[in-house]
Each structure stands twice: as structure tokens, then as C-alpha cells.
Amino acid sequence: MSEFTYLFRGRQTTGSPEERQKHLERWIAWFKDLNAQGYIKEPGHPLEGTGKVVDGKQKIVKDGPYAEAKDVVGGYIVVEAKDLAQAVEISKGCPILEVGGSVEVRPIQVLNT
């Protein structure tokens, strides 16, 4: 088994209250399902939309992230899967994809000690 980080980008910003609640409910259901199947290694964290970016040798502090809403990472989790192919397959159920967002699947490097 290997570990993978899912980085979630984008968020639903429009839609009626009912549609937004339905979207949330799909997220919660997806999460529950992942958990029940033992894929979730760490439930991760949601990230605030605001923050600072510290940049370069000069350590310039900027307000950020100044990316497009669809590119901002809104949170992450760590899953456990057989291989990258399976981790990708699992991520396809993520409701963020239905609202134009994305899931970045990144294998966590294992350090040999």
C-alpha cells in the first residue's frame, strides 16, 4: 500500500441554496464512503481562502494566494491505495469535479531509512 495526497482545487460559487446543499451532501457522502472502505489515511484539513505568500531570497511577503478561484487549493487529505492508478480511480468520485474543480493526486515519497 502507498500513500497519496489529494489536493482539492476550486469551489462551487454559484447555484441555488438547495443545489449547494446537495453538493455539500455529496461531499460528505463521498468522504464517508472513502472512510468506510479504509482509504483515508489522514482526514487532512480545509484551508482558508486567504493567507500570505513569502517569496524568494528577499523574503517578500505578499497577500495571497493570488490565483484564480479555480486554482486555489481549498484543502487536502491523505489516502492509502494500492498504486497511483487506484488512487486516481478513487479520486474520480470527488464531487469537486462536478463543479469544475480538480483533484491533484500526488504520491507521497517514501524515504528509505
Binding site: P17, E18, Q21, H23
Partner: protein, 424 residues
């Protein structure tokens, strides 16, 4: 569970109401942005953690923070609600003022203010109802269009016109002056009644949508009853009428969207709790001197609710209640309902005679249940062919698949049994 169902929709109305008070009616677009932002923040966190213990309070607190952000960000660029003057401008008074405005009692009043503002008699009634659904019940333009079985563009135009009128009114309706309240409350009740009926008799083919509309109308009526000026006999009568009819709603249209008339409904499935509540409300409505059409309609609904079988119904009382109703607000539909009741108590032929005697019955020609009533009575008289023609006419004005299915079945019942060719 039930409390969390439609949580966003319900909280949308509450957040919009309080934020409109803070920002002023002219800033409605900013209000809507702030509410969307509060939803975004909630979803960002809840999708990972599930809903918190008290999601409604969480949302409202988030809305308050978002409002403070917006007030600080925009205070040089915008004028907010004039009634708070400089209180929202100075950092000294900003937070405590907003804190007060987000108190539970304040929010309840804000909902009423918004409801009364939406029901501005200068707006056409259908626009009032569309605005109530959009602003207070959190229905999107498409969802309102779905409820009214109307096009997106027509509803969008109607809502945006109504919003403009609201923005021009400068300030929300003041519900603290008894005389103003009493002057506006009949329009509010009529809008709620229309909203309920849209759910109960309306054209939407989806049972779920219709249940929702009825439920929203009942929720807003209950809110009206919680206000001392709103808790009048007539409002109680309206609430009674809604409860008593809503008790039959799930048997009227079943899960697959099929329509059942009062005569074929499974009465054991009527919601007894709603019936009891309705009867209690009806009792509370019986004081004072005003006899509103709601009183009479609630009384009719109570007679149906109390009859264990169709044949136990006290049709004579129903006939006389329809006569009272016709005296208050004459309409061909009421006359038709009276005729149907006469058909029940005095025989089908008498019912037909009464229908034929309705003076302005040509106004009913596009109402499918006018033709259906004629069909049922002819059928009872044994005139299958005439009945079939009436049901066919009804079918032509059917407004949704459920009505169509129902009427097709009635047409089929009227067909003579197929002649089997003798098999020599």
C-alpha cells in the same frame, strides 16, 4: 434530520433578511454576494468534517463575520442602511451594532419585514409570490420557474423587476407600527395563500416541488402567527386551512406523481397530526367578527378531514359553506364546487343541473376539472358517451403529466367494453 433538510434554503432567507436590514435594500446584490460567501465558507469546512452540531447557528455567525468584512471594506464606497446613520461607519460602534442586529429576536422581525416588503400591493400578486420564493425561501430563478411551470426568462424578468421596486423603496417595511402592519397584512396573507395553492393545486408535475411550496407557505404563515399583530383570527383561519389541506397532500399526489381525487384517497394515510393542528387553529380563528374566505375554506376542509369515508361526509354543510363563500368572494370555481357537493348530497343529475346553471361557466372552459366534474356526473348517470366526451375535453386542458394520466384513465373507463367477435 428534518431540520437539516433544506437547511441552506431556510437559512438563506434568514441571512438575506438580516443582511438587508444591515446593508439597506438598495444593496441587495451585495447582500446576495455575502450570503453566497457564507455558504462557500461553510461548504469548505463541512465537506471535510461533516455538518457541525448546530449548522444554522454556524452559518449565521459566518454571515455575521462576512458582513463585518464587507462593511469595513465598503464603508467609504457605499451608503448602508440609513436608519443606522453613522453607527456602521465608526469602528467603535460597528461591531456592537452588528452584534445586536444578529440577535435571534431581531432576525425574526427582519424576516417579517422582508416578507411584508415583498408583498407590496403595487407589485402584481404573482410577482410578490415569486419574490417571496426567491428571497425568503431561497429558490433560484430556475426553481421558481419550475414551481410556476413558466419559462426562465419570464420569471427572471418578473423577479428582477420586483427587486428593482424593492430597492427603490429605500427601506424595508416597518412592522412595528400596528396600523401599517394591519394595512399590509391582508396582502401578505393572500400571497401566502397563493403560494400554498400553487403547491396544492398548481401545475408543477413534481410532487416534491409541490410539497415544498406548501411547506414554505406554512412556515411563513407560522412566522406571521408568532407576531402579536399577525396573530389575528383571519391568520389563524389561513393557517388552519393550510394544515387541514396539507394533511391530505401526500395522498392527493402519490410518490410516482399520480393524482387521486378526494374520493379515491386512502384516508387512513391522512396526516392525523396536521388534522389535529388544523382543528386547533380553526378553533383559535373563531373569535372576533370577521368571517374571511379562509374561515369558510378551513371549515370545508375540516368537514372532509373528519369524515372517515367519502359517504360519511356532511355534504349538506359543505353546500351551505360554499354558498357562504360565494357570498364573500363569488367565483365560477366556487359555484362549481358547490354544484359538485350538491351532486353528492342530492344525486348526480341535480349536480349537473347546478353546473349548467352557473352563469359565467364559460370562464371555466380551460379548467380541466370543470370538464372532469361534468364527466364524473354524467358517468354516474350512466351516460358513458357524454362522460367520455367531457373527459376528452378535460384532457385537452391538462396542465401536467399527472393530470394527463389521470384523465386518460377516466376516458378509458367511459369506453364501451370491446365487442368480442363471435367465434364461429
Amino acid at each position: 434530520m428534518d431540520e437539516r433538510e433544506h437547511l441552506f434554503r431556510r437559512e438563506y432567507g434568514r441571512m438575506v433578511a438580516v443582511l438587508t436590514r444591515v446593508f439597506g435594500v438598495h444593496n441587495l446584490p451585495l447582500v446576495e454576494d455575502v450570503v453566497q460567501e457564507a455558504f462557500c465558507r461553510a461548504v469548505d469546512v463541512w465537506r471535510f468534517r461533516g455538518m457541525p452540531e448546530n449548522p444554522a447557528a454556524w452559518l449565521m455567525t459566518t454571515a455575521k463575520h462576512c458582513a463585518l468584512d464587507a462593511l469595513r471594506r465598503e464603508r467609504t464606497a457605499r451608503v448602508f442602511a440609513p436608519e443606522f446613520g453613522r453607527l456602521l461607519q465608526s469602528e467603535w460602534t460597528l461591531a456592537p451594532t452588528v452584534e445586536n442586529l444578529f440577535g435571534p429576536a431581531a432576525i425574526k422581525d427582519d424576516l417579517l419585514r422582508m416578507m411584508f416588503s415583498c408583498c407590496d400591493p403595487r407589485l402584481p400578486r404573482t410577482s410578490q409570490v415569486a419574490l417571496v420564493l426567491h428571497i425568503l425561501c431561497g429558490f433560484s430563478v430556475d426553481e421558481v420557474a419550475g414551481a410556476f411551470v413558466s419559462g426562465h426568462e419570464a420569471i427572471e424578468k418578473r423577479i428582477s423587476r420586483a427587486k428593482k421596486a424593492l430597492a427603490k423603496s429605500k427601506t424595508l417595511f416597518n412592522v412595528t407600527v400596528a396600523a401599517d402592519f394591519s394595512a399590509r397584512v391582508p396582502a401578505v396573507r393572500d400571497a401566502l395563500y397563493l403560494l400554498f395553492n400553487e403547491g396544492y393545486h398548481g401545475a408543477s408535475p413534481e410532487a416534491a416541488v409541490r410539497t415544498e411550496l406548501c411547506r414554505e407557505a406554512m412556515r411563513l404563515t407560522a412566522l406571521l402567527l408568532e407576531h402579536p399583530f399577525g396573530a389575528t383570527p383571519t391568520t389563524y383561519a389561513l393557517a388552519a386551512l393550510m394544515s387541514l389541506n396539507a394533511a391530505r397532500l401526500s395522498t392527493r399526489i402519490d410518490a410516482s406523481g399520480n393524482l387521486n381525487t378526494l374520493f379515491d384517497q386512502d384516508r387512513s394515510r391522512w396526516d392525523q397530526q396536521l388534522i389535529e393542528e388544523g382543528l386547533k387553529l380553526l378553533e383559535l380563528s373563531a373569535s372576533g367578527v370577521e368571517l374571511s374566505s379562509y374561515h369558510v375554506e378551513a371549515a370545508i376542509a375540516s368537514i372532509h378531514a373528519l369524515a372517515a369515508r367519502t359517504e360519511d361526509t356532511d355534504w349538506k354543510s359543505i353546500v351551505s359553506l360554499y354558498e357562504t363563500l360565494a357570498a364573500i368572494a363569488p367565483s365560477p370555481i366556487i359555484a362549481l364546487n358547490r354544484a359538485i357537493a350538491i351532486g353528492q348530497s342530492e344525486g348526480a343529475q341535480r349536480g349537473l343541473d347546478e353546473i349548467h346553471a352557473i352563469r359565467d361557466r364559460n370562464r371555466l372552459s380551460s379548467y380541466p376539472f370543470y370538464w372532469a366534474a361534468l364527466g364524473e356526473l354524467e358517468l354516474k348517470c350512466g351516460r358513458h358517451q357524454d362522460a367520455g366526451q367531457h373527459f376528452t375535453a378535460a384532457l385537452q386542458s391538462a396542465r401536467n403529466p399527472a393530470e394527463r394520466r389521470f384523465l386518460e384513465e377516466r376516458v378509458a373507463v367511459c369506453r364501451p367494453p370491446s365487442t368480442v367477435s363471435p367465434g364461429f
